[in-house]
């Protein structure tokens, strides 16, 4: 048992921090978030072709770096700290994970190579309109035809759906419910039968799209493994994605604490730095507690994610550890960002200070892939042995 970063992992973290300080500083973020696509194409090119971050946990057999989920989360934490505007999360935490778990050899060979070599962007569409995620929220239906399948329906909130090259679609056999009848498909985003509508978002650093499928015809090539029984696969992909987002949230929770500590050391009221007042010191201490605990939850879950991807002995802990990480980090990031804004006083309320960007990212993140209450209820079911 060793729960500290290896030297390599330390180096990855530091170099990522240095790199992102260059390409994703405040100015860069504020520029990228105003662009129609929501990210800077050159930066994405550089990340995908020079840094090759998207290859981190892809096995070498598929031209990946063959590193682990811990290394991936180290990068995601740094991206969260810097509010990196890029289709990285959607491509890697959703797209790549879906391919790794549910892709056919053909699909893996073809698409993972594209991701590796051309910085191809992936996205995943699963939930329909409403407040839910996961299998029960899949509303798009597929029916089998002579030539393949036909998809109809709407996906409400697809992260980076507007700019993705390929999209993984979750659909259910017409008439099924809950975990039943789920199928996964992967298709070029410009495929006829797919309409994409970019949605204006409160958090400008992460975009989402509304995607409609109208008689979308797909053949066997597009069909992923276990069609009609892919519910468990989808749930695994979402848990892996949740762990990745928890890592981003950890980055947010830590960064807002640093911004705040720097500010309250400088800002003076009543003739002393406001950071010398107990009320603010104690809030800062609570923020540290949140951030440090979030760190523990994220990296434990990341280790479990590796187990799951490699079917290790602890693989069965995937959903539990993902929900623990998400339930904790969703709140930690939001609470810390909210406290940070309060502790910045009037300044935090202005557009020019960055705190609000983190507050918006934190709030948006709370609602992807199940909010805190949803994950706690899932934990309760596991705890009380109510799930199979």
């Amino acid at each position: 048992m060793d729960f500290s970063f290896s030297e390599n992992q330390q180096i990855i973290a530091e170099s990522a921090a240095d790199y992102l300080a260059k390409v994703s500083g405040t100015a860069a973020v504020r520029a990228a978030m105003e662009t129609p696509g929501g990210f800077d194409v050159a930066t994405w090119q550089d990340i995908s072709s020079e840094m090759c971050w998207q290859l981190t946990h892809i096995p070498e057999a598929h031209d990946g770096l063959g590193l682990g989920y811990v290394e991936l989360c180290i990068l995601l934490e740094q991206m969260g700290r810097n509010l990196l505007c890029a289709p990285f999360f959607s491509t890697v935490c959703l797209g790549v994970n879906a391919l790794l778990l549910a892709g056919t050899d053909e699909q893996k060979h073809h698409l993972l190579k594209a991701v590796a070599q051309d910085g191809t962007r992936l996205a995943m569409a699963c939930a329909g309109p409403g407040r839910h995620w996961g299998n029960e929220a899949v509303t798009v239906e597929y029916e089998t035809t002579s030539s393949g399948v036909l998809l109809n329906g709407v996906y409400a909130h697809v992260i980076d759906g507007q700019t993705a090259d390929y999209i993984v679609l979750a659909a259910r056999r017409a008439g099924t419910r809950g975990n039943q009848g789920i199928g996964l498909f992967v298709v070029a985003a410009d495929h006829a039968g797919i309409q994409r509508e970019a949605l204006p978002c409160m958090d400008q650093t992460r975009r989402q799209a509304r995607i409609s499928c109208t008689n979308l015809e797909l053949d066997a090539e597009a069909t992923m493994r276990n069609v009609g029984h892919a519910g468990p696969l989808l749930e695994q992909v979402l848990s892996l994605a949740s762990i990745g987002m928890a890592a981003e949230q950890l980055g947010v929770a830590e960064k807002v604490l640093e911004l705040t500590v720097d500010y309250i050391k400088e800002r003076k009221q009543f003739g002393r730095p406001v950071g010398s007042f107990q009320a603010l010191k104690h809030k800062a201490a609570d923020m540290l507690l949140q951030a440090e605990s979030a760190r523990s939850a994220v990296y434990y879950a990341a280790c479990i994610a590796d187990e799951a991807l490699r079917s290790g002995p602890l693989a069965s802990e995937l959903h539990e550890s993902a929900s623990i990480a998400r339930a904790y980090c969703s709140d930690a990031a939001f609470v810390n960002a909210a406290e940070a804004l309060q502790m910045h006083g009037g300044a935090g309320f202005t557009w020019d200070f960055d705190v609000h960007l983190y507050l918006k990212r934190a709030k948006a993140s709370q609602h992807y892939f199940g909010d805190g209450a949803w994950h706690r209820e899932r934990i309760a079911r596991i705890l009380l042995g109510e799930t199979a």
Binding site: G130, P200, G345, G346, Q366, H367, Y368, D371
Partner: protein
């Protein structure tokens, strides 16, 4: 103790409700429910016109004494007035600073000349006011004011120089009340003056502050030897702090009941969303909706206690002391609840480039409720020291 209103009061309720129903339409139809906090930048011209329509109807200064041009309504009637106004979706008042703060302070502390000069403009809705309290270096610590007022015996006027901030309406108002240091040697609460300053002069520059909502309703105000005639100093030099504090007392008056009706409208919106998107099936959301309802009811009961304990003079009782802390925390959580009821939808804005929905603005704007007008940290200090008599912090300065 008794609840409910007399039949006379209820008759008055019908009168104001009727008047609003008749007048809050046509050119004003589209400004209903608009212009509240977070939305004060919206439809300014129309709301100024509406202020004057209100004046024409005799609905400004209803609580002022009749000899000051008011209507001397009873507390109950004022409560009813504010309730009905909010219930009808009356737009955010552009004259609220004049009617709610400047008027009352001039009535209690102003000279006869000041009353005759300024009250009519407020009652007619023709002169709007803004407030010049906060400064970049004097946010929570208002006593740290560094704006200076220098008296010119020759011209018998004051020359005011300084930098004010968080001033709403500054770009629209004709007048501003400014807290400035009349004694350059003074520190803290001493040596301050309370000035009534005309905004239309070269010496004053207004710069909007862009907020996290992407909109601007607050401003920075730069005074560079702005001129203020000596009769526009309220009270004496050195009385500024006392007057400023008395004025803050009025903020907790009957108007809070109108604010609460606005809160009620917002809570109703959220409940409507919950019904639509099925959030009412989520037991956590149900608890939080109930919590919001409970919190708002109790806010109202607190206000009723405050008002019954004759608050009209602006003196503070315990229920009044907690009011800012209470409502700001409640309102901030309401904004958060709005987002969580919406769930993933919460992200979707009204339009590109960055036009937010009312509930998104509520969420973001309420983040400031716990900051302006004395942060919650300051509120707690004041409560602990004044209401509970706990010892002051060791002070380095002031």
């Amino acid at each position: 103790m008794k609840l409910g209103f007399t039949s006379t009061d209820e008759a008055f309720r019908d009168e104001i409700a009727g008047w609003l129903a008749e007048h809050l339409l046509g050119e004003f139809e589209h400004i209903r429910y608009r212009g509240g906090p977070g939305d004060e930048h919206a439809y300014f011209r129309e709301r100024r016109a509406w202020e004057q329509a209100m004046a024409a109807g005799g609905w400004i200064g209803v609580g002022w004494p009749e000899d000051m041009g008011g209507r001397g309504y009873s507390l109950e009637q004022q409560v009813i007035f504010h309730e009905e106004y909010a219930r009808a979706g009356g737009p955010g008042r552009v004259g609220h600073i004049g009617e709610g703060l400047v008027g009352p302070i001039l009535i209690t502390h102003g000279s006869r000349w000041q009353q005759q000069r300024f009250l009519p403009g407020i009652l007619s809705g023709e002169e709007l006011w803004c407030q010049g309290y906060s400064e970049p270096g004097a946010g929570s610590d208002l006593s740290n004011i560094s704006t200076r007022a220098v008296y010119d015996a020759g011209k018998d006027n004051w020359s005011i120089t300084g930098h004010k901030t968080w001033t709403s309406l500054a770009h629209e108002a004709e007048w501003c009340f400014v807290l400035a240091r009349t004694d350059p040697a003074s520190r803290g609460r001493h040596g301050l003056g309370f000035f009534l300053v005309e905004m239309q002069q070269r010496a004053i520059t207004v710069r909007p502050i862009m907020q996290l909502t992407g909109t601007s309703e607050f401003n920075e105000v730069f005074l560079d030897q702005a001129i203020c005639a000596s009769e526009q100093l309220v009270g004496e030099p050195g009385q500024g702090w006392e007057i400023a504090m008395a004025l803050l007392g009025f903020e907790r008056g009957v108007s809070t009941l109108g604010q609460q009706m606005m809160f009620q409208n917002q809570l109703n919106q959220i409940i409507t969303v919950a019904r639509r998107n099925g959030a009412t099936a989520d037991s956590q959301i149900r608890q939080r909706l109930a919590q919001a309802h409970i919190g708002l009811k109790i806010m109202r009961y607190n206000a009723m206690r405050t008002l019954s304990g004759n608050m009209v003079d602006g003196s503070l009782n315990r229920a009044a002391m907690i009011s800012k802390l209470y409502w700001s925390i409640w309102h901030r959580e309401l904004g958060n609840l709005a987002m969580d009821v919406l769930g993933p939808e919460a992200e979707v804005a009204a339009a590109q480039p960055y036009e937010l929905t009312p509930l998104q603005s509520l969420f973001l704007f309420t983040r400031a409720d716990t900051i302006y007008g004395g942060t919650n940290q300051i509120q707690r200090n004041i409560i602990a020291e004044r209401s509970l008599g706990l010892p002051r912090e060791p002070r380095m300065t002031g």
